[in-house]
Each structure stands twice: as structure tokens, then as C-alpha cells.
Amino acid sequence: MNPLLLILVPLAGALWAALWPDNRTRPWLLPVVGLAHVTLCGWLFIRPPEFSPDAWFAFDPLARAVLPAVSLLFFVCAIYSVFYLHIRAERNNRVFVALLLAVLGLLSAGHQSRHLGMLWITTEAITLATVPLLHFNATPRAFEATWKYLLVGGTGIALSLLGSFCLGYASLHGGGVGNLTFTALAAQGVELSRPWVLTAWVLVLVGYGTKMGLAPMHTWKPDTYGEAPGLVGALLAGAVTTVAFTAILRVRFVVAAAGQGRIADLTLLAVGLFSMLVAALFLLGTRNYKRMLAYSSVEHMGILAVAASLGGAGAAAGLFHVWSNALTKGALFMSAGNIRRAAGSASMDDVRGMMKLTPRSAALFVTGLFAITACPPFSPFFSELLVLRAALAAHHWAATAIFLICLLLVFFGMTRVVFGVVDGRPRPGTVANSRRFVETAGVIAPPLLLLGLSLWIGLFTPPLLRDAWSAAVAQLFPAP
């Protein structure tokens, strides 16, 4: 089985969607291609293919450890989108459907990129392909959010290009012959020019960190997640950020091979804790429940950065957390999207009593809240526990304390908003608006499914999945 199919099938699907004439039936292409992708991905997961170390794209252990999560999340979002686009039948969905499928293909390419240049090209292409998805609602607010996404994201991605050039120059300076695959770069080891490697690391961390949404480069996130359709938010928070995270992991691997692993880990730890702190403080103040999800995403990206800084055990916990975050956040974005559609506003000043108007979505939203704030027995509890154990094992006492305090503040901040929205008596305006929204099985089953998966992975983590994470860690943290 050729892993390039994971890239080519969705891209072909995108072309198919662009040519499909009927607006009503076109969204069904999403679950069809999504199912094909999940099947392919599952097949490759169980029987990982051989690959050459010089390959530009390959289903390597790191891709195997995270790409199935992206594929699953996309498939569930695709089912949801059929019903979402049915509600929004008045809008032409040609561009929306085609670009969603293109994003899936590019995400597969990004996760499988083993070449510095190709990784940048695919990440930039993902950024550009998501732009029209953000302003699907075509409101002035959506265009404002898109503008900020483009300008902040564009500058970030430009800096990561500069960082990639610096890493390339470090290789050239150390006598490299222009092979920019991560394997070849790491093989140069300490011959890589130290000043250029460090410059490259800072620029890459800022650049891909912007894409991930690490503070203080997270400013596009609340605006974008606040205005984009729920399922687009789910994909951005669970899948697009993951590409940036694996990019940082791959570059860290080269930086560590050059003997600068300690500096890389310290910066990752600092940026990660700072992101958690910023997210926690903003969560105590925000009054918009979609922006709340954005800050929660900043927090979880911070957790990933902290995990990546803690060596092999931490990175394994981080890969686990990629799954926890993708599945749980997906459920939250979809249930919040339902509530937003029924209530007509995303501000807790206008919305309350949604437990009475949309009881199923509200119940999912509350369950998702407990899951994402690491209440057992959902998977974020277990993955964050593993991160904490790795932090304690590395004797990072202060970092552990900050980590725990941030989790507590986040819990306060998020419960304040969520219960403000679901509790109480609904306003008359909200009641009238909510009559136009029916909680069909199509918009309830997908988030329920994701929460179920989150529960399953937390309680009964399949041994095969654990093996995949260990294999990825072995790839990224080779024994000295």
C-alpha cells in the first residue's frame, strides 16, 4: 500500500467536489472520502510500510503515531458537515467542500513530510486552503477574523521559512551537500554550524509556534475560532495545529542531534508554561464561549510544548495528548456550534438556559468541558497525568507547580462560562431563535462519538497505539 494515497485520494476528492454540479448532494463526498482515508490510514497503521530514509514523504513512526487521530477527527467532522451544510442549504458549498478535502490531503502530506522544504510548503498550503473556510459565514466579523489570521499567520509562516533557510545554511556551513531531509540533517550532527542552528530554532519555534497558537503568538486564535463554523474550528484545533507540533518535534530532533537539545527543551518548556498561563488568565475573563474554546486550545498547545520538552517519556505523553486533544476538542467545537446556531449569539451575556432549549448539545458541551479540563475517566486526564509524571521524574518542581495551578485556573474559567450558558432561564429572543434549530441525530451523534472515543482511549488505550507512540519516540529521541 502506497502511503502517498493518503495525500492523493483526498486531493482527487477535492477536484471531484469542485466539479460536482449539485449543491445538495455535494457534501456527501466528505464522509465518502473521509471513510476511504480512515480505512487507508487504519490499514497503514496496522501494517506500517517500509520507507527509505531519504524519502521526502513517508508514513514514518511519527506520522503513524498522529495521522490516524487526524483522519478519525476529519471523518467525524465530515459526517457532521453533511448535516451542518444541510441546515445552511442557502449557501453555495462548492468551495467549502472542495477545500475541506484539499486540507485533508495537505494535512496527510504535512504529517508525512520528512523534508524541511516540503514541510514548509505543505504547512503554508494548509494555511492558505483554510482561509476560505473561515469566512464561510461571510459576515464582516468573519472577514475581520480572516484578515487577522492571514496577517499574523502569514508573518509566522514567513518566519518559519526564514528559520528553515537558516537550518539549511547551518547544514551548508557544516559541509552539507544540500540534502534537506531531517535524517540527513541530523546525521550531520555537531558539524551543523551552532549559531545558525540556534537562530533557526528560535525562528522555527516562533514560526510554527504561531501556527500552533502558542502564546504570545496566539492572537489570531480567539478571533478565528470565534467566527469560523464549529467544524472548521474542530479541524483547526485538532488537526492543523498538530502539523505544526510535529514540525517542531522534527526540527527539535535535528537541533538535539547538533548538540543543542538542552536549549531547545528549555525554550519549549518556557513557551509552553507561558502559553498555559496566558490561556488560564484569559479564560477567567472571556465572556464568549467560542473564544473560550480558542483559549482552551492555547492551553493544550502549551501542554504539548511542555510535554515535548521533557524527553522521551514526556514526548510519548505528548503524542497521547495529541489524540486526547483532537477527539475531545472536536466534540466541544461541534456542541458549541449547535448551541451557537440555536442561540444566535456566542456571548454569555445574551445566552443562558440552553439546557432547556438544546438539552442534548448542552449535555455534550458540559461533558466535553469535564473531559477537556482533565476530569477522569476521559483521555485528557490520563495524558496530562503522564506529562506530569514525566515532569516530576525530571525534577521540574516549579514547572509542575505552575502546570497544576494553570489547570486549576482553566477549570474555574471554563466552568464559569459553560454553566453560565447552559444554566438558568433562557431569554425570550433566544427561545424564538432556537425554534429554527432541531437537534437531529446528525448533529448530535458526531460529537457523542468523539467523546466516546476519548473515553475509550483514556480507559482502554489499545496496546497497538502505545506501541506506535513508543516507536515515534524512538525515532525522535534516538538512544545516544
Binding site: I121, L162, F165
Partner: protein
Amino acid sequence: MNGTVNLVIGLAMGLNLLALGSSRLPTLIRAMSLQGVVLGVMPLLIEHERLNWQILAVAVATMAGKGVLIPSLLQRAMRAANIDREMEPFIGFVPSLLLGAGGTIGAVALAQELPLLPEHAGSLLVPGAMASMLTGFILLIGRAKAISQVCGYLILENGIYLFGLLLIHSTPLLVESGILLDLTVGVFVIGIIVDRIQRAFDSLDTRKLTTLHE
């Protein structure tokens, strides 16, 4: 050969200062497009001993994209928006110029200290890249109109492109063309969003984009 390359980069650095000091939008767009053409010539000058059709294609694509396509897109947006041609700066023109000039001198000084390969040591490539990036950032932060911010973003990209020329021998051309394609499409997407913002807000003043906040 190095002399010609340095002369051309010097020209690009001069255009940076023109972009910083101009108070009128059309001048800014012209400075940026001229810089794009100048950059397009660069691969031909650097690789003049090893010219092949691929390098020629990259050069022509850069010149067409950065020199013609994107500027005309911006000019169309400017006319469609019917905005006044004066730019409203957050950072005044004289301070921007001083910052830019100081930054250029600093970039030349800093490049002396950087560990460069012997063949790049006497070249203005690295200082030129740093000066253009700084200019881009000043324009991005210091101007209110969406179009001038786009110009700033492009000049920032030009700086990164200059830096990328250090690697022209060693990166496969497929990668380079991919990067170039992405950048061009990126600006195209920005152009479309500028157009939509103009329709939605009836203005291209980014100071009006303040609905979204805590």
C-alpha cells in the same frame, strides 16, 4: 560578478528606503514591484555560469509574480476602493526612514560578525535580506491601510527570498518553485480578502477592524 550582485542588492535596499519614506500609496506599490523585478534578476546573476531552463523559469516567474501580477492586483484594489492615496502612518515617515536607515547600517555591521561561508562573506545578500525584513516589519506595524500592510508583508517576503538565495546551489529546484508558488498564491489570497473587506466594511482602513476583542 559579486560586484554586480552587490550593486543590484544595493538598489533593492534603496527601494526599501523609498518605500518607507513615501507618503503616497502608488509610490509604495511601485517601489515594491520594482524590488520584485530586481529580485527576479538575482538568480540569473548568481548562477550565470550554470544557467539552465529551470533557473530561467524561477527568474521569470518571480519577475512576473512580484513585479507585475501582484502590484497590478493591488493597484486594482486601490482603484476599486477609491481610497485617498495618502497613507496614514502610525509611525511617521521620518521616524520610519530613520529606523530603516539605522537598521540598514546595523544589518551591514551585524553581517560582518555572522559566521558566513567564505564565498558569501563579501556579499550584501545577508545585510540586504535583514534590511528588507526590517522594512517589511516597519510597514506592517506602522501603516493603517490594508494595502500598505500587504506591501509590507511582500517586502518582508522579499527579504526572506534574498536570504534563500544563499542556498540556491543546494536546494532542489522543485522545493524552490514550491515555495515561490505558495508565496504567490498567498498574496493572491490576501488580495481577495482585501477585496472582500473593502466590500464588507466599505473601507480599507484596518483601524475599523476592531469588532473582535475581549
